[in-house]
Symmetry: C2
Subunit: 337 residues, 2 copies
Amino acid sequence: MAGGVTIRDVATAAQVSVATVSRALNGQANVTAEVRQRVLEAAKRLQYSPHAAARSLSSRRTHAIGVVLPDLYGEFFSELMRGIDQVAREHGMHLLVSSYHGHRDEQGMAMRAMRGRVDGLLVMSPYAALPASSDDIAPGLPVVLINSQYAGENFLSLGVANYEGARAMMAHLIARGYRRIAFIAGPEDNFDAYQRLRGYQDAMAELGVEEWVLPGAFDEASGHRAGRAVLVAKDRPEAVFAANDMMALGCLFAFSQAGVRVPDEIAVAGFDDIPLARFVYPGLTTMQVDISGLGASAARMLLARLSKQTPLPAPTPLLPQLVVRESSGRQSGSDSS
Amino acid sequence: MAGGVTIRDVATAAQVSVATVSRALNGQANVTAEVRQRVLEAAKRLQYSPHAAARSLSSRRTHAIGVVLPDLYGEFFSELMRGIDQVAREHGMHLLVSSYHGHRDEQGMAMRAMRGRVDGLLVMSPYAALPASSDDIAPGLPVVLINSQYAGENFLSLGVANYEGARAMMAHLIARGYRRIAFIAGPEDNFDAYQRLRGYQDAMAELGVEEWVLPGAFDEASGHRAGRAVLVAKDRPEAVFAANDMMALGCLFAFSQAGVRVPDEIAVAGFDDIPLARFVYPGLTTMQVDISGLGASAARMLLARLSKQTPLPAPTPLLPQLVVRESSGRQSGSDSS
DNA sequence: TTGTACGCGTTATCAT
DNA sequence: ATGATAACGCGTACAA
């Protein structure tokens, strides 16, 4: 029962006052080496570890940051968390995660439920609406928005340059000579998906070719469906650009399954560059997005804000990078590692 | 600045005492409907939300459970979190996640740093060693171990029946007539990987065929490597059984890339049934593991333990299920959804 | 039904 | 350098 050991027990054991114990354990200067030694020993012997809630209450710092996400599903989530976790642990911060499957109301709940639990908030709000009424969101808590359309409005925010990325991909496809390009869209109310769609649409408009948009939901299943829809269409497109890699893979497999050669008959492009995209055959051209880096940057912004060190770390949007992995014809060896 | 609103402010605004506010907000019976109404209004108007740390300190409950994982990488992590999150939110519990990349010492740190932050702990400890010295781990905190080899020793624990799953897969492959079966192993110190390996080895021993184990690390890259290693070997195996799907996919792509037909020339089997496995072509036979269900079950066990309702919910290990998706020859349509 | 007052475990401000 | 002691915000006996 090492659970109920308080700072008072340590004080008694070390024959000093609680104040001294606190000072010794928190590494303050005003403590004799000999006394500090005694305290440390007593603490270790009693398996003392400070009660976080009490400490927070008194010091007004929780050493935790809250992460509020729409859902905890898939590679995007895990990569984002990985990035956040990495810089959080570098700074000795804990992570309190919360998801809001419902919608905005739930998001608000999640955020206000974190009062007194965290020192700051990382919020991803890819939906159309505002994360919350603009001062309901920030009851004094520093907040960094991730991939929100309200970048730089009232809150610190950071995101992926989706529109620019989509334009870059379209430029690449067009440079390759493709004209009739279909697009597999993401969820309607997803802001990232919307930006990528706009990139596609603008490019097609400039090209003077009619757009061809298929519905999708950012998962393999909808990509697979879209792929099969394309196959049975009157005249197939020359290329398919999916709003993310999961759908691109689903589409790719639909093609492989039907015996359609990629990219010889139809080219397939994605967005995100998920790890698997690197090993899939046939190759998948995609826009590399450093999601883990996005999480890390967001966390760093928040922490900087907490330390009040930097006034405002430049909120540079992350620019995706084109990765071409089209493999025309069979190859025996390409990239290793 | 709605952050500093305390229960006292609400009390003043509603013209009652703090005790009454507390009772009204916590839905206790001893409160006049009229007074409760007044309190609720005041609380809403002031945007009051209780300070979690203070509440924890006083009530000795945090309404949070800690999740301690070896790392936050990949589909396994995200699925597990999804399951945990689901039942946690059903019970109004928050999630405090922590990873220990280093090793056991870091794990111990992570666990004891959660004192006063959580009501219970979910710990995944797939490594060979004990999660911690057996009473250092539990300073009064209820703990549920996930996929630990110390199932049912001192702590509640729950895991996947990896050995049985691997045996089932081997039985399937052998029934199909395969004899020379290679195995792509997982990380050396991973307990799940070890159990699956044992399942393979025992089956091969009973079959009287020499085993053929290739090293792997649970990622696509090592599967790809193993696949290519197999291709250049003197006489190729008839089937390859990978310790997880990621490696199976890497292997599969290596084969596709080399023009080797699956499963006609070599069959490929995996373990986990990750979502992508459903859409990959050629098809991948795998053992379906309900990871999200595993997380949910673990969370439920812990919560039951917290409510002290159930004495000990039967720690039934999760039995993986065989999923055959071998597709010999091209097909135009198979499963939909 | 409602109010007063104490305790939860720590940190920080005073004295000493 | 060290020791009392007052916050911190909330729950909850106990009293009224």
